[in-house]
Subunit: 418 residues, 2 copies
């Protein structure tokens, strides 16, 4: 079964944004066992969009369109698809109610153009949007099908996962099952080196490495007649990966992010946590608080970007700051000790670094970061050198802080087990 | 003059990599004054690549193809383009020498398949590759032109800048210039309502609205013979937008994000800032600290996710928490007062809310957020209702906090101006 992706949006044609939707959808479709031969980007132009949809319906079984579902006259995707598939547009009652509720909740007035979003091609499956106003649609006609999703990734992805994955799996009887083995604290090339023979000799299941910020994911994918047989193919490969890469693997669960793994460890070991951040400015805490169960263990977080705050809140010594500068192992250590004293948390983490773009020297270049982690008073400090711009340095430092926390908690568990 | 982008590569179709080349080239082409109506991704498949090239040559003046220029049998781009444009392949002497030198320099043996890369369509402009082995090509025929570039961004971008920019500028004397007007504190449909007539009657410049989290961007784009004339077309439109939407516009500068605008206001008015966050868990501070000049004004940040931390760090009263719950206007107010007392910052902001997925009730649903902002002691509290998952609620709350800070600082400025 062949799928084709059509991204609608002038901002893509102008290069204002990168088409991450296409990469996400392509990956998802591949793991649903669908072949994808074409991806097209086209603007909000009726004639060209029509031409693209027509060509797609001719050569592919399923079209997935993103973008152009909004309230403005510019948004044409639904209208063009309905016309190409010969469907009338009718109002969907629930969609109308949800648009009403969306605005009521915000205490905002609804402008007339918003009701356009409640119109759907007759007979379409309506995918209600919990993260925006435009509903998604699945339109079927003559063995072909068009799936219309909103453009913003934060609306598109949850909708795809809620509705489309199951729909595609039903359409394509062969199952493709994937397990993602997620690693932290190791680089992509090192991983590839350690499983070189497995990557060389793969067929079914396949193993695909993906580099993420501070992480490497290995996606193990098997094709089979049913779920059970696919899982049977995957199991020994995952086992082998676990044997080789044990210490770096923090999960094999698709929905577990690194922060989930850390919070799970904290909860399981009855450990509380506090954070103090300089260059990451709250990003470590924000990731921990991403986990909805974190309230059980999160004591407090501090952002001490200035030296004054470091001294005042954490009792970092003036002498230490002067002798070693704010970006040093010594200050990271005093920061973590400070937050431990203030919060009395079992696990504490501190981050101090030079995120740039200014402030770097030959000796202390931009990208230099120190992270300290204490578990019940035992402190570990690490030095890091990250590449990239301010944002990239901060994201890498955040991932490194979570990775170090995980490592220190695991060490504590090993020590206390005897 | 119309350009079309064709990216060749199976790894794009599988979603293994994001197509950043297309975004880069699209932006470059736009700033060379070229219109781009289509971007296509197609695999290393002769038939489908041929179909795509043929369709492109029919509807566009210039094709830019990336990828598929390498030494393997899979690499077909050059062969397919040569065939479509009826050109013989001949060996380019300099290209051959450069391939030889590339391998010699690395002390590597040349395998036979590498010589394929020295073959070029007869009469083509050869773009020598200083960062890899495959040369790029510009092939002209019947007023049409195909530009072939290597796939890896590190080879493609320098080659584009060395050869292609000048080539395109010569071909197209027109320029395209854009200005983005960025708004906060207003929804997309309300904006469109307020400038409906402008959107209806646009031609040159065009106005395109984009919804972002908590923001709306209006991109004003003009085409003209030169930069100066383009800016002359843009200026009155931006002026009109400013007249109609004044209070919501925080910048017209491409590189200024909402956090930059807030930090700029703080610095310009010599105001220090501190934050305290519950559900956003550091995201407001993290965005402020995204701005590299923030150290001048950022005093400290706190993350008080638990009631205990709210009491301990901020002195929020037990009675207030019991009577009104942690997610209330009263607690938001006490939080902001608390951080004001502790940090003595001029501007303080507090966020408390229910990000979900658990903890919501009919009276206090998930998505309920209170944000308080104080400027020199004067406190403003606002209630918000956000839709979406935990992440979405937190991102919306973060944008709303920055928006409220901006509003309160502007009010303070107006008041103190008299």
């Amino acid at each position: 079964m062949v799928v084709e992706l059509i991204s609608v949006g002038t901002e893509l044609l102008l290069g204002n944004i990168v088409n991450t939707n296409a990469a996400y959808l392509a990956e998802q479709c591949a793991s649903c066992g669908l072949s994808c031969f074409y991806q097209t980007v086209v603007g909000d132009n009726e004639e060209r969009l029509q031409e693209t949809v027509k060509a797609g319906l001719k050569r592919s079984d399923i079209l997935i369109l993103t973008g152009g579902l909004g309230p403005t006259d510019d948004d044409l995707t639904k209208e063009v698809v309905a016309k190409a598939m010969k469907k009338k547009l009718v109002e969907d009652k629930k969609a109308r109610e949800m648009i009403q509720a969306y605005f009521d909740n915000r205490g905002m007035e609804i402008t007339e153009n918003n009701w356009k979003q409640a119109l759907v091609p007759e007979g379409a499956i309506v995918m209600y949007n919990h993260n925006g106003t435009a509903p998604g649609l699945i339109v079927e006609s003559n063995e072909k099908c068009a799936i219309l999703l909103p453009g913003p990734p934060k609306e598109m992805k949850p909708m795809f996962e809620e509705y489309v994955v199951d729909y595609l799996k039903k359409k394509n009887p062969e199952v493709i099952v994937s397990t993602t083995v997620k690693l932290c604290g190791i680089g992509e090339s090192k991983v590839e080196d350690m499983i070189h023979d497995m990557l060389e000799n793969q067929s079914n299941p396949t193993i695909a490495p993906y580099a993420k910020t501070g992480e490497v994911h290995l996606r193990v994918t098997a094709k089979a007649a049913d779920m059970k047989s696919a899982n049977k193919l995957i199991k020994p490969v995952v086992k082998q990966l676990k044997t080789r890469l044990a210490e770096y693997i923090y999960t094999t669960d698709e929905n577990t992010a690194l922060e989930n793994a850390v919070v799970d460890l904290l909860i399981a070991n009855n450990l509380t946590v506090s954070t103090v951040e300089s260059c990451t400015g709250g990003m470590v805490a924000a990731r921990l608080i991403n986990v909805s169960g974190v309230s059980e263990v999160f004591k407090m977080g501090h952002i001490t970007y200035s030296n004054k705050a470091k001294k005042k809140i954490l009792g970092v010594k003036k002498k230490t700051l002067e002798k070693h500068t704010a970006v040093s192992a010594e200050v990271a250590k005093e920061m973590v000790k400070g937050v431990e004293t203030v919060s009395k948390a079992d696990v504490c983490v501190s981050v101090t670094g030079l995120a740039g773009p200014d402030g770097g020297t030959a000796e202390r270049p931009v990208g230099l970061v120190y992270i300290a982690c204490s578990v019940k008073g035992k402190i570990t400090v690490q030095e890091y050198h990250f590449n990239g711009n301010r944002e990239k340095v901060r994201e890498n430092a955040t991932a490194a802080a979570l990775t170090l926390m995980r490592k220190c908690i695991l060490e504590y568990m090993t020590e206390t087990a005897f």
